[in-house]
């Protein structure tokens, strides 16, 4: 259908206007508010002891969650693609489940499993504090990021098929050698993409983490909790803007990485 010029222009105006008002204007305002007192004020605001320990905690959670998700993500993807067992289709649905569950509901569910009165509440009396401790925040983050690696690796595994792996096995390679030499190189870009998505979500998760964290500044406050606490508890609007801008910068880097990886993947295919 060949749209006439006036229709084309008005559709373009509507689309770009919508994006401009919804995305660009608010982001412009927050950048202005962050830097209106100069870059020094911004730097000071994101290097307070509470901010630094929030950054460290967020990075620590990422450092634990990413390796866990990589290992189990590959295991689950392999099971979904290569496995022949009853309930495989059910497992497919379970992998997508975290996308459909509200972050708050994730938090509540974890409290009911790991909390003092939960099914696994006994671990707390053994001195292993899950809820209101680091383990709780890590488990919550694993829950919400679980689908990413699986969903990025799975299609690649389908695509490459099993022939090369079988050939390697016939030539006497053991399972590990086949995995390291054949499977891993084939899935590396998909895996990297999944990791980038995991990092972004892990740094940015708020709802699930706030439910299972005690939220003490300097102890159990992640970057997103810091933004919230600065705005709500400290009435430090500027501090909240600064921390949000820091998170936004990370998000933009993630976005650039994703674009680069997309290009890399499509040129290699």
């Amino acid at each position: 259908m060949n749209v006439s010029l006036p229709v084309k222009i008005s559709l373009r105006t509507i689309a770009l206007g919508y994006l401009f008002v919804l995305l660009l204007v608010p982001i412009g305002v927050i950048l202005y508010r962050t830097f209106e007192n100069g870059i020094g004020a911004f730097a000071e605001s994101i290097s307070t002891p509470a901010a630094i320990s929030a950054l460290n905690l967020s990075l620590l959670i990422v450092a634990i969650v990413v390796p866990v998700n990589v290992v189990f993500g590959i295991v689950v993807a392999l099971a979904l693609v290569r496995g022949r067992f009853p309930g495989r289709r059910l497992l497919q649905a379970v992998v997508d489940l975290p996308f459909a569950v509200s972050p708050i509901v994730v938090g509540v569910a974890l409290i009911m499993l790991w909390g003092a009165n939960g099914w696994f509440g006994a671990v707390e009396s053994l001195g292993f504090k899950v809820i209101f401790g680091l383990p709780g925040m890590v488990i919550a983050t694993i829950f919400v990021t679980l689908p990413f690696v699986v969903r990025e690796v799975e299609p690649v595994l389908y695509e490459i098929g099993e022939e090369q792996e079988q050939a390697a096995a016939t030539l006497g390679a053991d399972t590990w050698q086949t995995f390291w030499r054949i499977t891993l190189p084939a899935i590396r870009w998909g895996l990297t993409y999944g990791v980038v998505l995991t990092v972004a979500r892990a740094l940015g998760e708020f709802g699930a983490v706030i439910m299972v964290s005690s939220g003490f500044p300097g102890v159990s406050q992640t970057l997103t909790l810091l933004v919230h606490a600065r705005y709500i508890d400290d009435h430090n609007t500027f501090g909240a803007y600064s921390a949000a801008t820091l998170l936004m910068a990370i998000a933009v880097i993630v976005l650039l990485l994703m674009t680069l990886l997309d290009r890399k993947r499509s040129t290699e295919e």
Binding site: M1, N2, V3, S4, L11, R12, I14, A15, Y18, L19, L22, L23, L24, V25, P26, I30, R33, V75, V76, L80, G83, G87, L91, P98, A100, V101, S102, P103, I104, V105, V106, G107, V108, A109, I111, M112, L113, W114, N117, G118, W119, L146, L203, G204, F206, G207, I210, M211, T224, V227, H228, Y231, Y241, A244, L247, M248, A251, V252, L255, M258
Partner: protein, 253 residues
């Protein structure tokens, strides 16, 4: 091992949640869900989410259309921008919108603690769903059919309604369903701009969080289960409608 891992991380917590919601029997569950405050918060959540889903269906399709069929300088940048709401932490989305529509608003427009504020926050975080669902379908669409319809004298509106829309409908519905499911459970983007006013702007996730804080875990668990069910039903129904539409198209050919 894969099954064990998924069970431990995903299924077991949800099972504990479901069990806890029934710990006072089905009567307790029913009372928790039909409490006036719980019903009000579910009504607000579903109502606002339907509005947001509808906005997404229309605006998302227009944006996708412009990104595929139109040419203008800077299109690549705009295209990359679409993913920003997914990359941005939800709490950042909240504070970004608050800087424009909050107490410090430079345009004097205050939308915090109002339902329009909720709609804007949710439209922000759900923007990519419909756009990214429709875009690839629109690229693949066979334009010859459109041209044939045009040469037979059909006007643009007729072509869109009878040729383009049926092809796009499954993608639009799919994206809208995802946007709705996301909106239903959203918390981070709403927590600062929503105001959390019971009966007016308190959404279900805020109500659940409040019930945990005042130590009413059964209420929290019960409303959580309802929220989950609404999301599942929405996704299931839309998937069913979409696959039916797809099948009808194939039968037509």
């Amino acid at each position: 091992m894969a099954t064990l891992w998924l069970s431990l991380i995903v299924l077991l917590p949800l099972a504990a949640l479901a069990a806890h919601s029934l710990s006072d029997g089905f009567g307790g569950f029913w009372n928790a869900v039909t409490a006036p405050a719980a019903l009000a918060t579910l009504r607000v959540t579903v109502g606002v989410s339907i509005v947001v889903a509808a906005i997404n269906a229309v605006m998302g399709t227009i944006v996708a259309w412009v990104l595929v069929r139109d040419e203008f300088p800077g299109k690549k940048v705009v295209n990359a921008l679409i993913d920003l709401p997914f990359a941005l932490p939800t709490i950042v989305a909240s504070i970004v919108l608050l800087s424009l529509y909050g107490p410090q608003s430079p345009i004097g427009l205050q939308l915090n603690a109002t339902q329009p504020g909720l709609v804007i926050a949710l439209a922000f975080v759900t923007l990519p769903f419909v756009v990214r669902a429709v875009q690839p379908v629109l690229i693949e669409v066979d334009r010859e059919v459109e041209e044939a319809a045009a040469s037979l004298g059909a006007n643009n509106f007729t072509i869109f309604r009878t040729v383009v829309l049926p092809v796009l409908a499954p993608a639009i519905l799919g994206g809208t369903g995802l946007a709705f499911a996301r909106a239903i459970g959203e918390y981070g983007s709403i927590v600062l701009i929503g105001g959390n006013i019971p009966y007016q702007t308190q959404v279900a996730s805020q109500y659940i969080q409040q019930q945990i804080e005042i130590d009413r875990p059964v209420n929290a668990a019960a409303v959580s289960v309802v929220l989950l069910l609404i999301a599942f039903v929405a996704l299931f129904v839309l998937r069913w409608v979409a696959s039916r539409g797809l099948r009808r198209q194939e039968n037509d050919r």
